[in-house]
Symmetry: C2
Amino acid sequence: MERVAVVGVGSTRYSGAQEKTEVELFAEAATEAIGESNLKPADIKALFLGNALGDFNEGQGMLQAYAADNIGCRNIPANRYEGACASASMAIRDAFIWVASGFYDIVLAGGVERAATMGTGLATRTFAMFSDARYEYPAGVTFPAVFAMLAHLYADTYKIPLPKLREQMARVSIQSYNHGSVNPKAQFFTKNANMPVEKVLGSFVVAAPLTLHDCCPFSDGASAVVLASEAAAKKLTDKPVYLTGVGQASGGPLVTQGDFLPRLRAREISSRQAYIMAGLTPQDIDICELHDCFSIASLIAAESLGFFEYGKAGEAWEKGEADIGGRVAVNPSGGLKAKGHPIGATGAGQVHEIVKQLRGEVEPERQVEGAKNGLTDTLGGDGGTLVNLILQRGW
Amino acid sequence: MERVAVVGVGSTRYSGAQEKTEVELFAEAATEAIGESNLKPADIKALFLGNALGDFNEGQGMLQAYAADNIGCRNIPANRYEGACASASMAIRDAFIWVASGFYDIVLAGGVERAATMGTGLATRTFAMFSDARYEYPAGVTFPAVFAMLAHLYADTYKIPLPKLREQMARVSIQSYNHGSVNPKAQFFTKNANMPVEKVLGSFVVAAPLTLHDCCPFSDGASAVVLASEAAAKKLTDKPVYLTGVGQASGGPLVTQGDFLPRLRAREISSRQAYIMAGLTPQDIDICELHDCFSIASLIAAESLGFFEYGKAGEAWEKGEADIGGRVAVNPSGGLKAKGHPIGATGAGQVHEIVKQLRGEVEPERQVEGAKNGLTDTLGGDGGTLVNLILQRGW
């Protein structure tokens, strides 16, 4: 297997509702990634595109064919991946194997979504389809409710009084808002810095105990990455970031997790695959972009990824151990909470952030100095899909 | 790269509207394929699932996670591919590379759809989303209209009087109906055999010059294949069918084809990739399952695949050269026209048929004797995605 490098990244700013089509949004991210790679569209051998709801939100199915054509990548193989919020990470993992196998030397991967443009009503109803259509959402359980129940279960499992857990969760959101406020690509750029705990706790209740500030927004946006073989990468950049570990796992309806909850088996299986493949342990990770669709999701994820003991992630956030300068910098981009969550693009946005961080190219206020190893974590639905990618500085 | 074999196949009968969910339909095909491979669900390392409209037709997104769990393939990586009618072929091509690269030894690929259950109205509207959402279907052009226009263009380009072309097209449908009538997996099993040309020409007009009998039906169904490395295959079966060539290409809005029409660039690029990879030419192909969504589509496809000269495919059908016993046996399953077209499953159904044919396991009336090399051809939309797969007898 060949080593695979990220040689270029691009991203739109994540935002609320806007007027560009998904084809146009993706073009913005893709042309940035291709240009940064010192390549032209004709150099791209294949496209791997994450997109969850393009057919629902603007009536365009088979989006990847039009996306490829629109950026001048004529007649290349183009795949669309749908794994709910993990769609783009799934696409990048598949792009990885086409390069690792030696079949292609240079490919484009990424994702796009206009979740904000859909409006809250349609977005909530269509998102719900990414839980089990037989037993879950028909019972009225949308994702805020799922994570609200996980918060209660987390509090009970680890014997943390709910008011205490709510404060810990608030710390997660506050940290993310602070990072997002200084990230020009973030939906909440210049907004929500230094939010008091009381404001988080006192915002309107979405699904108890989750308030508005425990929940990520719906976003529009696109992100893209160019992957290349090691040989090609060496000709294109002196700052290659190697994709050294990939992991993916699936899960059925949440009830199949049984007593394993509030943990998700798919995450622990997936991250283990990625760590083993990269030859790293959680202790080696300097920076992690994880799937904080809700603040409680950050605590659960950070523990399953091996950063903190089970039940202790909230304390870690309180002590700054999950912040820049701490044990591991979690979501220095602002994460889904503050950077935004254009679902089919989110995983590619995570890779965009890690690559920029490893290169030392982000804003000084949120740069993780000397970071060498990064991890992404993307969750689709309530455990249906988990993808983890490990990226390492190659110079 | 490792050689990749198909070691087992399974398929539901393709049908009109029925009551099983897509998870249940896929389970029927998948368990047959796994059982035929002398494997158990726990042996399957990953799932690659084609599905175009599961979110629209039964409100289940991220179907692959529930499909994997339901057949006992717990926590394996599971991807959903959407490339309109080419979704399953796209999934199989990606499954191929994960095995060819040596990453996995045994994987499951396939597709499922309940296009018939959607009803004609919703199916027609949602299918239209697989053309360009800016310039095509908003102008009122659904797929019957696209292929009707291609029929007119074909007649004009090759100087075939339209009444003559209509008779040639009728021969395509008649041949497919005859094959489907003796295929127990076909939607039109026991139906429509020996239909007179006059009945085809005289059936109601869908989009002139296409009549009802020029058009494939909407179908429910699922098909699955197990792919294995050569080493694994040798332990599992004495009749391995090797997947020796894969090709895929994309296209933008139909207008970008310009003067190339009625041919589609994506097909000629994709099939060339597959031929070169397999080291075969069109003359080597004994059997072909091609994308006959409309009878005119068969003529266009058979020429681009290299079987007949441009403008001569209609004559070939009239002379029986595209029939069992002729130059190349086209759609001995009955094709989309008579076997049926559950869009996200269709490409896997084509592979199912080729594998059964190469093994000599189909009904005697439609068995292509001594067939060694087979080709599939799957079209997504009006040229947006083309996938070709070449399968060869391995004993």
